[in-house]
């Protein structure tokens, strides 16, 4: 009976620790994708400003309340704008940002194709 109790306790502690570790991982992932608005080159995760420390606490609180990663991003975007995200979403304001590299790649490819392959033939 004692062994059974100990085993139950062990399993309970193990599941508690693993869910705690999972949440910490998610917290880190979210705060690494948030820009600190005080020292703007750094992520909230790396920054130690008052603002960044408050955002870290807020992310923890929101996750405990059951909010998803996307909902936390939406909440902060609503407060501070798209800039707070290091990974801006694809929308009409970021078309140029996302499509320019692809466009340059395609044009470059066409030029190479024209200059080297067509001329060679």
């Amino acid at each position: 009976m004692k062994i059974f109790k100990l085993l139950t306790l062990f399993l309970f502690l193990f599941s508690f620790c693993s869910s705690y570790a999972e949440q910490e991982k998610l917290e880190q992932k979210i705060t690494k994708n948030l820009r600190c608005l005080v020292c703007q080159g750094q992520s909230v995760h790396d920054s130690d400003t008052e603002f960044a420390n408050s955002v870290k606490l807020l992310v923890k609180k929101k996750l405990n309340e059951g909010l998803t990663e996307k909902k936390i991003y939406d909440y902060l975007k609503d407060k501070y704008g798209e800039w707070i995200l290091f990974d801006p979403k694809f929308n009409k304001k970021t078309y140029f940002l996302w499509l320019l590299p692809i466009l340059l790649f395609v044009i470059g490819g066409l030029l190479i194709f024209k200059l080297f392959i067509i001329r060679k033939n």
Binding site: L37, Q40, F51, N53, S54, L58, W83
Partner: protein
Amino acid sequence: MKIRVIPIITTIFFIIIFILFYRGLENSNIYVPKTNINKQIPTFNAKLYNSSEEVSSSKIFKDNQFYLMNIWSSWCVPCRDEHGFLKELSDEKNLKLIGLNYKDNKESANKFLNELGNPYDIIFSDPKGIIAIDWGAYGVPETYLIKNKMIIKKTIGPLDKNSIMEIKEIIK
């Protein structure tokens, strides 16, 4: 003629990109969140500064009344600079001043208010800085003019002569 089309288009394309980026260099690379006016104020529960009583913001902010919500802290030097302006605004009859004491030590905050005077009608405590995020603030001081539970003016940084003149003009 056919051969020259591609180099011309490519050159124009790169010139456009160059102009875009070159003009971008002139922009400030310090981002300031938009002063999100005409936004509904957030609802929050917070402890009152002078007691341990927790109050809901919905009981404080009433319709048809102007409120000035000021985020302050005793360790913030610009807060000291703007304090005189807040005291001036506290004389306005149709304006209620709400303070949000941001990440502060009670003893230092009391010292600050005893030294400079207390212009606030109500002060909330925000020891973790989470309520300030609800308001979209990222530092201290920040000030919001509110009417009908809507933010009608937001000031990032300390209030000055011009900003209090504007506030007085609005609440007239």
